[in-house]
Amino acid sequence: MDPKAFVAGMSALGAGMAMIAGLGPGIGEGYTAGQACAAIGRQPEAQGDITRTMILGIAMAESTGIYALVVALILLFANPFVGQF
């Protein structure tokens, strides 16, 4: 088999599998948003603070998903392994 084609195909597979990491942030962010909704329901006057904290927390939780995205992008567009064959 042509090693280049094999590495390219495996990299595409790896990029797709890396994006499975999108599951985690999705669940976490949904839970965060739900909790924030409950908090606003209990204390509507604190909506501004709750929203700001929620956005910050969501952004932090999102970074794992973004790492996966960066790994996938590197595998697809700046693959370090293809040049070795």
């Binding site: 910050l56 952004a59 790492y67 960066v70 992008l73 567009f77």
Partner: protein, 239 residues
Amino acid sequence: MNVEINGPQVLGYLFGNPNLPITETMRNAWIVMVFILFLCIFLTRRMEKIPKGKQAFAEKAVIMIDNLVDSTMGPGCRAFSPYIATLLMSSLFGSLATLFWMRPVTADLNTTLGWALITFFLITFNKIKYGGLGGYLKGFLEPVFVMAPLNVLSEVATPVSMSFRHFGNMAGGLVISTLMMGALEVLSNAVLGFLPVPLLQIGIPGVLSLYFDCFTACMQAFIFSMLTMAYVGDARSSG
């Protein structure tokens, strides 16, 4: 279908040196900086005692950022609000540049890593200033000295995660928009092939752009400056 997703193009070389490329990102960053400069000059021309029109808008923006800094970092941190405002504005307009046929400045790791390193320097500087050099070094040994390597790692992870988050969001949006354009071209050729133009490419990418460009740009600008404020404020109160 021809979909091309590239990094920023190299437009030329500084002094003809191949190690100093001038990229699209740098050109766009300068355009954005000049735009912000002229915006500031325009908004603050002929100021009056009683603000109205554009001056009122400028004052409102400054007060908003001052209040944000006050509420996030605590009182006595007004000196940071110009830096925060600069981050916010350059991130926002740098990302929104994509609406004006330019590659977003922030879809390049160099830009966001540069900003994150400035923030990292600020964090470390404030930690040493308020906790002393001994306190700063001792912070690495918390809670037990075995944790020192992990603490060093988590310190380094701050700028990395900040820059990757911003870069990943903008670059991801760029990639998805480009793929969507290609897919819509194929789809309209297959379904509405009798028309001379790819009809489905009209309008639908705009809806996506509303999220991936406008919303994400505002969000990431806010988050980047918010995290900067949180980290620096935390560093100041650590002493």
